[in-house]
Symmetry: C2
Subunit: 156 residues, 2 copies
Amino acid sequence: MISIGQLAARTGMTVSAIRFYEAEGLIHPERNAGGQRRFLRSDIRRLSFVMIAKQFGFSLGEIKQTLAGLPQGRTPTKEDWAAIGQGFRAALDARIDTLERLRDNLDGCIGCGCLSLPNCALYNLGDAAARAGSGPRYLMGDKPATKAPDSRQQNL
Amino acid sequence: MISIGQLAARTGMTVSAIRFYEAEGLIHPERNAGGQRRFLRSDIRRLSFVMIAKQFGFSLGEIKQTLAGLPQGRTPTKEDWAAIGQGFRAALDARIDTLERLRDNLDGCIGCGCLSLPNCALYNLGDAAARAGSGPRYLMGDKPATKAPDSRQQNL
DNA sequence: TCTTGACCTAAAGTTAGGTTTAGCAATTAC
DNA sequence: GTAATTGCTAAACCTAACTTTAGGTCAAGA
């Protein structure tokens, strides 16, 4: 069992972030007699996973869902982690695909220079890919909010 | 010259978002005798650009910088907009490239199931690609903050 | 034992990107 | 001309993901 400071040193996270993650339900440390947190060594890997997932653009809520797939009670095995990695792989493929389609459409738009709002292939594609950069929350299951198709104009 | 409501209708933005963008320096409307905002028709395209750029994951600050490249005083031409599109193309290419490298490394990691913190190719790549999902601010010029290489452990 | 450093909680602050509310002024429609 | 829209500002509120602060407790070394 390790302290929060040791866990922070070994993951590169701050102590405050770890406490925050506990509050968010991402880790579940025990407490010693004096009330201080005591973590399992396997929590180092658990937090490493959180950091990598964040780099992939997943929200803490999504990461929490994913971690819920780990076995309760026993330390996760290589295979447990590998299964989660497969889910990541699929999400990444989807994200790359979206960006490539965006890029292909941009190529067409550079030629015309239009960027006009509902005619532009770029913009229409964007409706489907919205939030792809600022937080692709839908990649792990959320549906992107569909915009009300309100009356927009024809030409800029 | 058009009102804020008309501009909102033609871009699909809310009136409050447009006012917010003015406060952030993304558009510079004039005012009529009664103090109401009056926009140029070319501001429709300007805001369309803002919406598309946001979908690409750029922050408002980055978009503001980019828009600063448009000519002052005259309505931007097709060529002005096309030049900006080229910058987008490059940023997108970089982003796709990063994600592909991330994916390739993930493939290796699925095999080993490691996810160990400083040995993992995934994690180390992540240092360079950090925040790629939750807001890739460095793609348009910002440098990603380099982490202090504090002592992390060798194996999980 | 004593002191210092690590830890504790609760609450407030931070940034981005807006939205909502309140109270009032300007425009537009009839 | 008057009522209904639309617009105005300022300030408060919102979410995510944390950090900072304040005031106190626990644990480890000399």
